[in-house]
């Protein structure tokens, strides 16, 4: 690690100096709207040279995945060091250098279930933003009942022959590789016959068709598999035991979605933003709702921090992560409703002065659906955390 870890103070000072020298001005606006997010991948079009340079300099220093081991391209940071890194990013309003399903979802699953060779092969390209991944879980008949997937992998000796259809595959048309749940044993009980396979979207047999959303955007697709050949070493975990990998990955996906709405840092208060926008004029209802959302947001952010601290201390959070997903996404929806009513008529135009406000508002409605619905989260909590009978 290029940073002085003698103490937290020396570490922070080093990070600060490093940021002053390496973080380009063009990414110091904290803006993480869809267009500003750096996703990486073979076909990613960088918004600016600054965005590209920022990703590359961070990747070269393990800072795109700070807590991953150095040998796999990460920074080898502890949880407390990662906090310092994030705090210092926030202090200069810097964007995250790279976000991706590889970082949020596949990476943690590979770190836990992958072989050493798989980690060496797949993780560094994720850290460097070279390979963009998509998630092939949902199917037309397998949404909340995810274990009901029917896409099929036939055993052909050295490979599986995969046929079937996925749906709601976010960014499938932009992704290089997919991690998919495939049924490799049709006779076993539904949870026991699924394998977790990785394969190249451009290796033959995969087609995608975008689906348009209520926001006008089309970030996700129907994805079809026709005689896709998947070599045997592209399985994570054991054959027919993919459900364990799938569930582990989902806990990370949920944590990520739960934090997606947080503004990071209690400094930028929603109420203040609205008050400034209206020259201090807020009616009583709006102000009361802003207070309630501010309180909720600070409390949820603290809880996300607490759970991360617990996990770093070796106390697994497990099914309780469903709570973060539930609380975080319901909060995010509430917050965007507030933005819309504060904006009034100016918030109603697609390309008005408020920019992406209505599109963002519509997008948040998916937060409590994607990665498992709020109803499913509450069922997980009541059964697995509270022990209520099925």
């Amino acid at each position: 690690m290029p940073f002085d870890t003698t103490s937290m103070d020396t570490f922070r000072a080093d990070i600060r100096t490093w940021l002053a020298e390496n973080c380009p001005d063009g990414v110091r606006d904290g803006d993480m709207t869809q267009d500003a997010i750096c996703w990486g991948g073979k076909n990613f079009k960088f918004e600016s040279d600054d965005q590209k340079q920022w990703m590359e300099v961070c990747a070269a220093n393990g800072l795109t995945c700070p807590t991953w081991p150095v040998e796999y391209g990460g920074g080898g940071f502890t949880r407390d060091q990662e906090k310092v890194w994030l705090e210092e990013l926030e202090a200069i309003d810097a964007r995250m250098p790279l976000l991706s399903f590889g970082i949020w979802m596949l990476g943690p699953a590979l770190l836990h279930f992958g072989s050493h060779e798989q980690k060496l092969h797949y993780l560094p390209p994720i850290c460097r933003g070279e390979i963009r991944w998509c998630q092939g879980y949902s199917e037309p008949g397998a949404g909340s009942d995810l274990a009901n997937v029917q896409s099929k992998g036939e055993d052909k000796g050295d490979h599986w022959l995969v046929n079937g259809q996925k749906v709601w595959t976010s960014y499938a048309d932009k992704a290089d590789w997919i991690f998919a749940l495939i049924r490799t044993d049709s006779d076993a009980p539904k949870h026991k016959g699924i394998s977790f396979l990785l394969f190249d979207m451009h290796g033959g047999g995969v087609t995608t068709r975008p689906i348009k959303l209520i926001s006008g955007a089309s970030p996700f697709c129907e994805t079809f598999f026709d005689d896709v050949k998947v070599p045997k070493d592209q399985i994570v975990g054991e054959e027919n035991k993919g459900w364990d990998v799938a569930k582990y990955l989902l806990t990370h996906e949920r944590e990520m979605i739960s934090g997606s709405g947080s503004s990071r840092g209690a400094g930028r208060s929603l109420g203040k933003v609205l008050s400034d926008a209206n020259n201090g004029a807020m009616d009583a209802t709006l102000r009361a709702e802003a207070m309630a959302v501010d309180i909720e947001e600070m409390a949820v952010e603290l809880t996300i921090e607490r759970y991360k601290d617990q996990a770093a201390g070796g106390q697994g959070v497990g099914d309780a992560s469903a709570m973060l997903k539930y609380a975080g996404t319901e909060l995010n929806k509430r917050k965007h409703e507030l933005f819309m009513s504060a904006g009034g008529s100016t918030a109603l135009e697609w390309d008005g002065a408020t920019g992406s406000l209505p599109a963002d508002w519509l997008r948040t409605k998916a937060n409590s659906i994607e990665g498992g619905t709020s109803e499913v989260m509450l069922s997980i909590l009541s059964k697995r955390v509270l022990g209520l009978p099925g």
């Binding site: 409390a299 209520l388 009978p389």
Partner: protein, 374 residues
Amino acid sequence: MANLTLTEDETMLVDSARGFLDSASPVEKFRELRDAGKAYNPEIWKQMADLGWTGVLVPEDQGGIDMGHTAANLLATEMGKTLVSSPFISTAVMAATALRQVSDNPRAAEALNQIAAGEITYGLAIDEGPKHSPDCTMMEAKKVGNGFELSGDKTFVVDGANADRLLVLARTGDGDALTLFDIPADRAGITRTTQNMIDARDSAAINFDKVEATGEDIIGSVDNAMDVLKPALNAGAAALSAEMIGLSSGAFGMTVGYLQERKQFGIVIGQFQALQHRAAHLWSEIEVTASTILNAGRMLDEDPENAELAVSLAKARASQTAKLAVVEGVQMHGGIGMTDAFDMGFFMKRARVAQEWLGDYGYHAEKIATAKGY
């Protein structure tokens, strides 16, 4: 940002507190006190003192264990779970915090020793109207010769009917010119009237009729009460929030237990998704609020100057969560939840009082908005 997990020492404190309270002060003990018309059990208070709890915020050279606010909050949480009634928050948390701000005052040093030893209790005579509002103090401290004469009425003085001493907030000038006095509760001119509160704990209305006070009775300096009182109010609000999260978990534990045992339509009611989801929602609220309380404790210990926002966040959240926990608790218990013979009502009544004491949701939400600049 501070680490939001418990240290080994803190975990041990929680375990030992739970062990002690489960045998010494389960909810039945609260019922016995209520039926006997008693606010708290002095014997249990003495045992708490022997365990060091009354000195949790008292410096070691004044006989305390000085474990800090996070520890005080953890104790309050455990007490909340079984509705332990005691002057812990008034005395060991608030009075101790106020008094330790003025370590050069020999009277205060003596009082801290006595608090740690469990020998005296305090009530804080602050509020005069139905809502918490120290800034609106009207009680006058009139300058007479070298001293003062206190006249006026205080209400909702928690633990005030039994307290040995009172911290009294009075006006010594216009605007925010307030002064804090520490006087014995039996000083001439003080009349205490016990208020029969819904939570069956100690609360008093207190009349002060030309009560004499000298410069020695002042905690801090004239006209600057808030310098010493504010830390005490913050510490108290944090500990009270902690008690509320304890009582929320206590009520919630009863509710989940009931969902697993009560049968209707041939199945346990916990199988109904309508109830499962409400229980899971309530659990989520309790978890999220617990983070704010731990955060408030850490801020009071590590950065007290900037702890006010964290404390208001905890009190606002805890007030809402406790309300939800008891409302859902009664509802999901059905008819039995409404009976006096069942304990849930105790939780509901204590929650209502705790919501109000030291500022309710609206009071603290307002503080948050002001701190954030809107």
